[in-house]
């Protein structure tokens, strides 16, 4: 039996080159989904294989990697992916948003604003924003080619007619660089404004669906809406029970069987940073 030997960051160099070519094309055509020969990874499809492949292709030995899932560094899948790269690439990992050069994420954009030296890699389950309106790839590719997005506006309109609101609360569609309607991955729509004009490069990897797309730095990203129903950011009206932030996206935690709830920051690094700063402030203030 041959003992497997793996390359730096797991993927072989041929594969990385193929992925990098797809990434370059994606950056050149913001928001356009580039097909790529996605590989079978040692974790299941749907568990971040697209993001992992993108990260593997862009990772260098000097990179500092942060991995979050639901905004947290400590969720099981984030732990698993961080361990994977610590093992296969030996890169330095961090939980501090500001320290990271590559951040792989599932379902959130960090609260701390990103800088030009950073790359945000999104894990994407269904890259096609039109998929649930039109299940056929042959059709949706043509709709993108013709910028034929009427069906999406009809969907949003029907939401308003039926529910009084646009009923999309996550994976809220955006238009990138005035051209392609793009899926932001299942981030809450609270995060959508952070995608606009971001100094950081944003890369999206969908492994099972074999697509890569990108939002280059300082690119216009507009959430779809109507003049009389403008896009609204949603966050629970309250502040974090741990750090007191009234700005961050909050997770709801069920605390007992009698309807008890508490709300805490979904972004754990942001929350810890604020608590640390508050403590230092208190110590400095003490006589």
């Amino acid at each position: 039996m041959s003992a497997p030997v793996y390359n730096f960051a797991y993927l072989d160099e041929q594969t990385k080159r193929m992925i990098r070519r797809a990434i370059l094309k994606a950056i050149a055509i913001p928001g356009y989904q580039v097909p790529f020969a996605s590989r079978e990874m040692p974790m299941p499809y749907g568990w971040g294989t697209g993001g992992v492949q993108v990260t593997a292709a862009i990772l260098g030995p000097d990179e500092v990697l942060k991995v979050i899932d639901q905004g947290s560094d400590d969720t099981t899948n984030a732990v698993s992916i961080r361990k994977f790269f610590a093992k296969t690439a030996g890169v330095r990992t961090t939980t501090r948003t500001a320290e990271a050069t590559v951040i792989q994420t599932r379902h959130r954009i960090p609260e701390t604003p990103l800088g030009a030296h950073q790359v945000l890699v999104y894990q994407v389950p269904i890259p096609e924003p039109l998929r649930f309106l039109e299940p056929r790839e042959t059709e949706t590719r043509q709709m993108h080619a013709l910028a034929d997005y009427g069906v999406m506006h009809v969907k949003l309109y029907e939401d308003i007619a039926r529910h009084g609101h646009i009923a999309t609360t996550y994976a809220y569609p955006v238009k990138v660089n005035g051209r392609y309607v793009t899926d932001p991955s299942p981030t809450p729509k609270f995060d959508n404004p952070k995608m606009n004009d971001s100094p950081a490069l944003q890369l999206f990897g969908a492994g099972r669906e074999k697509r890569i797309y990108a939002i280059p730095p300082y690119t216009a990203v507009v959430s779809l809406d109507f003049e009389d129903h403008p896009f609204e950011r949603y966050r629970h009206d309250g502040s974090c029970a741990l750090c007191g932030s009234a700005e961050s996206f909050l997770d709801e935690v069920v605390t007992d069987d009698h309807g008890g709830r508490m709300f805490v920051c979904s972004d754990t690094d942001y929350c810890e940073g604020r608590r640390g700063a508050a403590q230092e402030g208190a110590q400095e203030g003490a006589p």
Binding site: M1, Q70, T138, T169, A171, Y234, A241, M262
Partner: protein, 367 residues
């Protein structure tokens, strides 16, 4: 006060330690060996090799052991290893007519050159639980007859000699073979890629689709022209030496399905084909694959396309059980951020509803 749980890394390590423990089970029971799996669970190994698309009995047996007998998990393990293997090139097309046949049956001729050879099969066994197998049973050596040397020409070739069945489209010798593990699938997909997809596809999925064509969702009037199982030599054309060198043999099951005819004003009617091929003895898989292959040729043969089995995008996008299980099971991952966003909207809509409802109740009271 409740503080959001930390310690995911520890939890994962502990869960995996527990998994290793239950995989081994009661230590007083002898541990199963790879040889035992390979020999006595041979058809499970065959399936894992076929859908894992890697011909290696030992690794497949290891995968089955590691996966605790979960074959889709074993297929996944094999695939994840396969994807790291360097690709030297494609073998020369192998010739199943020259198969070292262990089983060959045809449902369309009572007898034919080389005869019907049942070989090792469950067919015609009575499905009665054999209590004798509960312990260790002595199994007598099977009867053996000498092979009379008659070549077993493929049944489809016999039909083709009379022009009664379409010829398989021959591609030029130097034509590149599509490989969906190297190029993303795009539609419409050519038959080489479709067949590769089906060969890797989930047996249960193909079985259900093939069955659906028999029940009328895209009927193809199939006959099992021939099913053969045995060993075939694989050759690789080596540039350096300028000729094909043998790499070894693989056991495969091949199914040639003979389907209803096609003809036109310009062309005499003849039978059409569906083709199935799988590693090992995998008859259910090869037959299902042949049914679905034929159904997917509907457009090419000018038939109406409407049934699920005839729909390329539907079939090829959903056949892969490693992809399917990953995405279905990913629902286990935390989704509380998305759920929180949905929860917020539902609460808001419920508040609005209550306001409207309350206003309505007041109006009713006033009237």
């Amino acid at each position: 006060m409740y503080v959001a749980v930390k310690g995911g890394a520890r939890a994962i390590e502990n869960a995996h330690a527990l998994l290793a423990d239950v995989r081994r089970g009661d230590r007083s029971v002898a541990e199963i060996s790879l040889e035992q799996i390979s020999q006595q669970l041979a058809l499970a190994v065959d399936r894992v090799m076929a859908e894992g698309s890697l011909y290696d009995r030992e690794l497949a047996a290891l995968a089955i052991k590691q996966a605790r007998g979960d074959l889709i998990e074993a297929i996944f393990l094999l695939r994840a290893f396969r994807t790291t293997c360097p690709r030297l090139g494609a073998s020369a097309p192998f010739d199943t007519a020259r198969m070292d046949v262990r089983r060959r049956i045809s449902a369309i001729f009572k007898d034919l050159p080389g005869g019907q050879v049942l070989g090792p099969t469950f067919d015609y066994t009575h499905r009665l639980l054999d209590q004798g197998l509960a312990g260790e049973a002595d199994v007598a050596a099977p009867p053996i007859a000498a092979h009379d040397g008659t070549p077993m020409r493929p049944v489809a070739d016999l039909l083709a000699a009379d022009g009664l069945i379409e010829r398989s489209a021959a591609s030029p010798a130097d034509a590149a073979v599509g490989d969906l593990t190297r190029e993303p699938l795009s539609f419409p997909a050519e038959r080489d890629v479709r067949l590769q997809n089906l060969a890797r596809g989930d047996e249960g999925f193909l079985l259900a689709l093939g069955y659906s064509t028999q029940r009328g969702f895209g009927r193809t009037h199939p006959f099992a022209g021939e099913i053969r199982f045995g060993e075939v030599e694989v050759e690789f054309f080596a540039e350096e030496v300028g000729f094909a060198v043998p790499l070894g043999t693989v056991a495969v099951t091949e199914c040639q399905m003979v389907n209803q005819f096609k003809g036109s004003a310009a062309e005499a009617p003849r039978f059409t084909r569906g083709y199935g091929l799988a590693f090992g003895q995998s008859e259910r898989k090869a037959m299902s694959m042949a049914l679905v292959d034929r159904a997917l040729r509907a457009r090419e043969l000018g038939e109406e396309v409407g049934a699920p089995a005839q729909d390329q995008e539907f079939v090829l996008s959903h056949s892969d059980n490693v992809q399917a299980t990953g995405f279905v099971e990913h629902l286990k991952l935390p989704h509380y951020v998305d759920f929180q966003a949905e929860l917020g909207l539902v609460r808001r809509m419920r508040e609005e509803f209550a306001l409207r409802d309350g206003a309505g109740a007041l109006r009713d009271a006033a009237e």
